[in-house]
């Protein structure tokens, strides 16, 4: 069975090219990836990411439960704030990367990937303690990402603009849309200023329609998973199953900055050891110096020795060349080093560049 989001009919009406992604029938593009990518960078893009999973974690022990589950210092956030983190294994490998929203000391909201929905839920339940309830709200919740420099103007036409204007990056608040409660967070997965909107499925088509209509004059375009991927990759935001996985430690993924908690959390021993002593592999960001498009899985070489593989690669619409991230042996490559990527039996030149390729534009 293939799952459909509450906006499926809207995508079909717009003539989107649909593909299966993590068990869902999702729009990969409406026009072209390039077109939707550029619209998001310069104006605004509207993404249906309702396939993602949402868990509400409630109860008197919610706070201590979250502290046990993530390596990131929970005191970084306060009610109305959110942060990026990960669920780690004892090995330091990653069950999933997540966003944690603090509603209050006794209530958190956790957003995770569609492909890991069941795995995450089992992992959380496996470690559940007394005084915590996990409510899986995924199937009732629609998630729309409004991203790009014109986002604030567009959303202000639909919700109270002064409250919206007070939202800081990674802050979130509640708004009313047609009488329904909508959670709005100022964050995203594109490298652009923007918002992530959460609303009940039944209001999703109306919200989608209002945003498309309100955004038309500002140049908003519906954007698919294709553009979402090129946008996040230019911004060097990790994708689970690519830069992150059960057998890649969080340190290897280049997300050492997420390891900051002083609490006793799962994976602490391994992650702290690797943070201090280094890990076997590391993620590097690169750009192609020859023509060619690096893609996931392509092998990476230095001095004719295989040192790793491309975890994500694409042609960058912004930089007009091949870009990507690769998982390579630690110390095999430093910033500025050149190496090669094997593309259909040919060695194509590439160079290690600074992360991120595209700086946050907000």
């Amino acid at each position: 069975m293939i799952l459909k989001t509450a906006l499926h009919d809207e995508h079909v009406k717009l003539g989107a090219k649909m593909v299966e992604f993590a068990g869902w029938d999702m729009p990969v593009m409406y026009t072209t990836v390039m077109d939707e990518h550029n619209a998001t960078r310069t104006k605004a893009g509207l993404f249906d990411v309702s396939h993602m999973a949402e868990f509400r974690i409630k109860g008197p022990a919610a706070d201590s439960f979250i502290r046990k589950m993530i390596p990131t210092k929970l005191d970084k956030i306060a009610p109305g704030k959110s942060m990026y983190s990960a669920l780690c294994r004892d090995s330091g490998g990653v069950v999933d990367d997540i966003f944690v929203y603090m509603i209050g000391k006794n209530e958190y909201y956790m957003v995770s990937n569609a492909g890991t929905h069941e795995k995450d839920l089992s992992w959380l339940n496996e470690h559940l303690t007394a005084g915590v309830d996990i409510i899986d709200e995924s199937s009732a919740t629609a998630k729309l990402d409004l991203q790009g420099p014109a986002s604030r103007g567009i959303l202000s036409g639909i919700v109270d603009g002064s409250t919206l204007g007070r939202l800081a990056r990674f802050g979130f608040d509640y708004f009313s849309f047609e009488g329904a409660k909508m959670m709005v967070a100022q964050s995203g997965y594109t490298g652009e200023f923007g918002y992530e909107l959460y609303i009940s499925n039944e209001y999703a088509p109306s919200l989608w329609g209002a945003l498309i209509e309100n955004g038309a004059a500002a140049g908003l375009k519906p954007a698919g998973l294709g553009a979402r991927d090129t946008l996040r990759l230019e911004s060097c935001l990790s994708l689970y199953g690519h830069e992150l996985g059960d057998s890649i430690s969080l340190i290897e993924s280049g997300l050492k900055w997420l390891v900051s908690s002083e609490d006793e959390y799962i994976g602490k021993k391994a992650l702290e050891k690797q943070a201090n002593e280094g890990a076997a592999r590391t993620i590097v960001v690169f750009e192609a110096t020859d023509k060619g498009v690096p893609r996931d899985g392509y092998e990476v070489f230095r001095d004719s020795k295989k040192i790793g593989y491309v975890t994500s690669g694409t042609f960058s619409p912004t930089f007009r060349k091949g870009i990507g991230m690769a998982l390579v042996e630690s110390s095999s490559l430093s910033l500025g080093d050149t190496f090669s990527i094997l593309i259909r039996d040919k060695h194509v030149g590439a160079r290690v560049v600074k992360r991120p390729l595209y700086k946050y534009n907000g």
Binding site: V28, M29, T31, T32, V33, M34, D35, H37, G226, T230, K291, G292, V293, R295, T314, F315, P317, R344
Partner: protein
């Protein structure tokens, strides 16, 4: 509906061939193919003088999301490639039957041409969604 010129022959994999003078054919990908691929960002061309068989992979066309092989519609020897595509692959989107030609081939067996689809058959093939 994509454009399907009457004077060309077509393959099921959406290549076209135009028969020029002296047993030479010019080949490319169809308008339908470029529409499916969308923004073409990279083209890998064959070596000239390479002998190819009908249906053999000769070039690669890549869009942001997809890699697509291009097969030779007939057997023969590659005599010329369109080097302009290396710097401007987007020509394949804007003019697939003209400036966006990919290679020219010296046709080995003229009989193979008759096995290809004419514009009407190709139109049916596109409409059938293959």
């Amino acid at each position: 509906m994509s454009s399907i010129p009457e004077n060309l022959k077509y393959t099921k994999d959406h290549e076209w061939i135009r028969i020029d003078e002296g047993g030479v054919g010019t080949c490319g990908i169809t308008d339908h193919a470029q529409e499916l691929l969308t923004d073409i960002v990279f083209v890998e061309l064959p070596e000239t003088n390479r002998e190819v068989r009908k249906g053999e992979q000769v070039a690669v066309v890549e869009s942001v999301k997809a890699v697509s092989d291009v097969y030779s519609p007939v057997s023969g020897r590659i005599i010329e490639v369109n080097a302009a595509l290396e710097d401007s692959p987007e020509i394949l989107n804007s003019d697939p039957y003209g400036e966006g030609w990919i290679f020219r081939i010296e046709i080995k067996a003229g009989g193979e041409i008759d096995e290809l689809m004419d514009h009407e058959k190709y139109e049916d093939h596109v409409e059938s969604g293959d």
